[in-house]
Amino acid sequence: MNTQARGTARLGFLTAVSFGYAFLYIPIVLLVLYSFNDSRLVTVWGGFSTRWYSALFENQVLLTAAWRSLQVAVTSASLATLVGLAAGLALVRLSGFRRGLLMACFGSLLVMPDVLIGLSMLLLFVNLEQWVGWPAGRGLTTVSLAHLTFASAYVAVVVRARLLQVDSSIEEAARDLGARPGQAFWLVTVPLIKPALISGWLLAFTLSLDDLVVASFVSGPGSSTLPMVIYSSVRLGVTPEVNALATLLIAAVALGLLSAALINRFISRPDSSR
């Protein structure tokens, strides 16, 4: 092939790649831009303004919902990290039927449509209440339990990937030196996979903060989470306040990711493969 044709192919390829990235980022960039637009209309630039941000901080409904979502996210992410840690450990070190069962369950949870998870969780809570009287009614507890369940699958993936890289002979050395199995695990292996636990926690936290569908099914009266409130205002039309809120959320996520990357680099300098 001559150089000119090669150049054309290269150009087409670069165009396709830039189109992909543009496709991913243009909507987000415009959203951020228009959160500072003084005009209510998206097509009209009415000048720079932070009025939607001030309006946001006076919107009690949104603020209460945000606080609720934050509580749910912290609770479910922390517990999901524990369940996910145990699951990741089992997926790496267990064999046979129980490992296969765990693989199937956690693997399915990763991709299962939200509506399916939401409805089945709701039915579970309704029946559990009938059988054992717990959880009484639906609210933040049921939302946290549901989030914890699907988020633990993501934590398990991250933990498993990291555990596969950790040399198990280090833990064996601790055992030879007299540590009990639990001690060896918590004092040797857990610190080694700390970066995975941190990114797993962050992932679980984000997923919980982001979830609309599952929360809609399992929440009760007066326990609407932030995405539920956003959803109902979006259904009524585009509101610039939501643009402002979205910008703040994006900024928070970007900051969180940046600090996670820095922590990761800081903790695991020698083998920063994740």
Binding site: L24, M112, V115, L123, V213
Partner: protein, 295 residues
Amino acid sequence: MTSARFVSTSAWLPLGWMAVFLLLPVAILLRVSFSEPRFEQPPYTELFVIGETGRWLWEGTLQAWRWLFEDPTYRDALAGSLAMASLTTLTCLLLALPMAWAIARAPLAWRTPLLLAVILPFWTSFLIRVYAWISLLKPEGLINAALLGSGIIDAPLLILHSNAAVLIGMTYAYLPFMVLPLYATFARIEDDLLQAAADLGATPWQTFLRISLPLAWPGVLAGCLLVFIPAMGDFVVPDLLGGPDNYMLGTALWNEFFRNADWPTASALALTMLLVLLLPLALLQRLQRRSDVPA
């Protein structure tokens, strides 16, 4: 206690959790799908009642399932979901192939930032990302303003609330799921192999089609499944960007539950979704077990 005992004991936490929060709920779905809706708590009938003779009598019904098979609305929803999920998978694949290839062949220092740039949108709210498209697609939105302004069209395109809008939204939402496994398999292909192909006279395009793509086949399949499975049951995108014609399984289930308060039909729809997804799910499991494709 030995190390093996420790692993075995701690495994009961996730196992028990899955038994209660995943397997039991599916069993309850099945049970509720054989009930009738009613205006009480819980809003579905019992399957067994104690008859006058003191014996348990079967009171279940196939009504919800019969509706599912007889009412064309549900058939359309299933067909709509299958079509839209397949189309989304295809567009994601076409968009992701050059991206994943570019990242995998980029200089080492560039790969992580480029990959992070693909993952970053995934970390921002799904709802907000879908919502962002509304301002772009609506008749008085930015895309129409740009096209009208440049004189390409003289009447605004009605993209919002159409199939096109749902396809754009779903492709946008699921693109990262396609790029990641593709990248993982592309990155494993040795440069030497491609150099050898080039030395033997293959054009870059030939090398890609005949060497790289066949080697990346597990990644392609994994990516397709990772997009197809959640797309089958998506609710947010067809609800916010689609119109009344874009009835899909996710929207049908949502409406049965939230609008009609018909829990049995919603349960039957959920089980239908699960049945349709069982094969793709099993395929994905096999793939991940064999070749550690990251999820």
